[in-house]
């Protein structure tokens, strides 16, 4: 008997068949990985299991009995718990308060703080998840916040725990600790469903793995009997080409992007960047590593002009211009919040930045806007029903290709890419990397910020490590991951 089972689950969104007769079974105490490209149907499947969507056909079973899930509340009642990619925590409340919320111990009509702290302490002890019950969540590092999310699910007696891309926000060290935690929790009999697209993680922590492609199951493996190649095959239906060789010729010429002694303070006067200096030459990719919140956002916003005409940033020798310097192509991390306007059409999204070039004196001809968009869609092999559909209806990978199409066709010599492959599948990732390499070979100066060290090591000629707003280390592109990872935590030497 399985702890949780999805049997013949089918879910359709309009013309899109997101899940097509999927069977998935999780045994008690097992860590079960669900992998697949973006748009393969992982999120839909997990949303069905957590009561966020209802399947068109098929059923959900717990311990062998069919259950009806109309909402997450139903799911929680049936012992299902979910840790979302974006945490749903109250920064102004303590760890204990965040954990007991919704099922608080009450004494005389008021929250019983002592009981809450005690319950949380006991829970931490039992599962080996260390967290100070009385600490404010707002001040905690990301890894600990995630632990709070897990504890919250366990506090509500979750016996099946779903984690959606849990490592996306973690440093390598934090990821290792998370995996230890998952093993401990699983050892107590809790089943864990781990949704991810990072194969190394699957092999490191999973017991079994189910692979999805285009809404169907394309493989079921025991991790002890498979390897990355086999999984990639099941995920994308072919093998990956070996990664392109690093270019031999060293970059030369005057820097296209230069940052000199850059210091940036936030509204409260706290320094977010202190004395940052570096240069990127034509034909060079400089990687930017660091745990989230080390100053990456401020650095990128300074370089692109979005922070105004910050002193200390020079593009081809002249100071950066305020309000998005047109000399910089910029692929932002937040695809929906910044990179696109999801409910505007594909054509209108790829138009941004070129609208004045296409316009005649009194008009912006729609025909020209569409023609240009069709051209980009073809050249960057973006799959979209038409250029008139809202870009938000495209899969993450295709939306990202659209962003790259727009930015890389700008007449810019400097490219800033932030997490360019976050949330995209293996095939698109390859394509994105090729595009960046091509831009580099054509003489662009590229600043690449990524939380994936593999990506930085694949692409970058040099890697800078940011920690608390300072560049604390610089490595050659092929430096060992462990060295870079250590520098990211601020450890010196």
């Amino acid at each position: 008997m399985y702890a949780a089972e999805l049997v013949g689950v089918t879910k359709r969104f309009g013309p899109v068949l997101a899940n097509d007769g999927i069977d998935l079974a999780v045994a008690r105490g097992e860590v079960h990985a669900v992998v697949g490209e973006n748009g393969a149907g992982k999120s839909t499947l997990m949303s069905i299991l957590y009561g966020l969507h209802r399947p068109d056909a098929g059923e959900v079973r717990r311990d062998g009995t069919r259950i009806a899930l109309r909402s997450p509340a139903d799911a929680i009642r049936h012992g299902l718990g979910m840790v979302h990619q974006r945490f749903r925590l109250f920064p102004g409340l303590t760890v204990a308060e965040n954990i007991v919320i919704g099922a608080e111990p009450v004494r005389r009509g008021r929250l019983d703080r002592a009981a809450a702290n005690e319950a949380v302490a006991a829970l931490s002890e039992r599962y080996g998840l260390r967290a100070d019950p009385s600490a404010l969540v707002g001040g905690l590092p990301v890894g600990v916040r995630q632990r709070v999310e897990i504890l919250r699910a366990l506090y509500r007696h979750a016996e099946v725990l779903i984690l959606d891309e849990p490592t996306a926000v973690l440093t390598p060290g934090e990821t290792d600790r998370l995996f230890e935690v998952l093993r401990t929790v699983a050892a107590t009999g809790v089943s864990i469903l781990l949704v991810t697209h990072k194969l190394a993680e699957v092999l490191a922590v999973g017991d079994r793995v189910t692979v999805l492609r285009q809404g169907r199951v394309t493989g079921r493996f025991a991790t002890s009997e498979t390897d990355a190649d086999e999984l990639v095959n099941a995920m994308i239906g072919r093998s990956l080409a070996p990664s392109a060789p690093r270019r031999a010729r060293p970059p030369e010429g005057d820097p296209l992007l230069e940052v000199r002694d850059l210091t940036v303070r936030d509204a409260d006067g706290v320094a977010r960047l202190s004395g940052v200096s570096f240069a990127v030459r034509p034909g060079e990719i400089v990687g930017l590593a660091g745990v989230a919140g080390s100053g990456q956002r401020e650095l990128v916003d300074s370089v692109t002009g979005l922070r105004g005409a910050v002193p200390g940033v020079f593009l081809a020798g002249t100071p950066v211009r305020a309000g998005r310097d047109p000399r910089v192509a910029y692929v932002p991390e937040d695809r929906h919040g910044r990179g696109t306007a999801p409910d505007m059409s594909v054509a209108e999204n790829v138009l941004m930045g070129a609208q004045r070039d296409l316009a005649s004196r009194w008009s912006l001809p729609r025909a020209a806007v569409r023609a240009r968009a069709r051209d980009l869609v073809d050249r960057f092999s973006i799959s979209a029903a038409s250029v008139d559909v809202p870009i938000g209806t495209l899969s993450g990978g295709n939306a990202q290709k659209a962003v790259l199409a727009r930015e890389l066709t700008r007449p810019s010599q400097v490219v800033v890419a932030e997490e360019p492959t976050q949330g995209v599948d293996v095939g698109v990732r390859e394509r994105v990397h090729d595009l960046l390499r091509t831009a580099r070979d054509e003489g662009a100066a590229i600043l690449l910020q990524s939380s994936e060290l593999t990506e930085l090591r694949d692409l970058a000629d040099r890697i800078l490590v940011l920690y608390e707003g300072r560049v604390v280390a610089e490595f050659p592109g092929d430096a060992p991951e462990t060295d870079i990872g250590r520098a990211m935590t601020g450890a010196t030497g």
Partner: protein, 343 residues
Amino acid sequence: MSAPVVARRVVASAPVVAVAGALLLTTLVMLVVGVDPTLAYPALVRGALLDGNLEYTVAAFVPTLGMALAFALPLRAGEFNLGGDGQLAMGGVTAAAVALLVPLPPGVAVVLPLAFGALAGGLVAVVAAPLSTRLGIPAIVSTLLVSAPAVSLASYLVRFPLAEPNTGLAQTPALPEAAHLPALGGSGYLTIGLPLIVVLTALWLYANGRTVLGYEIRATGRNREFARYGGVGVDRVAALALAGGGAFAGLAGALIVLGPPHRFVDGALTAPGYTFTAVAAVLLAGARPVVVPLAVALLTFLQVGGQGMEREAGVPSQLTQIVQGLIIVIVAVLATLRARRAR
């Protein structure tokens, strides 16, 4: 798409469902309060369209459409302009002041007050822009806050400095003949205000869909961070959209004052509730700018017809306000349902 499919989509669209639903509920209300719908509805139609009332309905359509643009234009940039009344009143009083105080040759005597009216409305609206971009007060609040003092200022001006001497009435003297809007044909109500507002609406629709500024306004409204990232000066665009909206409101005020009875009467601009009717019409039209004039026509019809219904069938004209209110409620409910179904 085949014709039946198009027809089905139109019938199932939010505005049609909202209007039909609102009329149905209103009919129920009529039955409950003991009004005979078979008397009331014909009276409504007569009051709006027949017996020479059509002319009056069209005359009321002009300022309502102006106010609809005043709300719809900033809305495209994501700004809610709820200060229409203040912009309308200041536009009207400014137009009256220019017409009364500056002796002008024919032609210019009409154009200049209209231009200054629009300018005044735009200025009142644009006060809200720095409040929202610098101080973070949303336009929906700041426009409303600025509106009340603007209405009061207009009221003060018309009661004291601009008041008609020796009458004690809160109105300006009649404007000089040269400043009267030329009538259309031999009509007592219709002026060149109608073609003017129609042309301006067409211009707005064109600018919205097919110019760089229209594109940048829409991008700002759909996702401000995306527009800012793309290099659009979003604060400037938002301020411009608010100013443009205010200018339409100010122009609507000027058109009222320069039309019959050719003077600024205190309260006459705000009392008919053009602003609210216009907001309702824009919300009814949803995200489709082309539908705005149609929605304005429909609500004006109800508004004017309601007064006819009151005169003729003794049905309180408030009933048509119930229709209007219900339309908005149903539009909101449909929008929420759709958002929920999209999950």
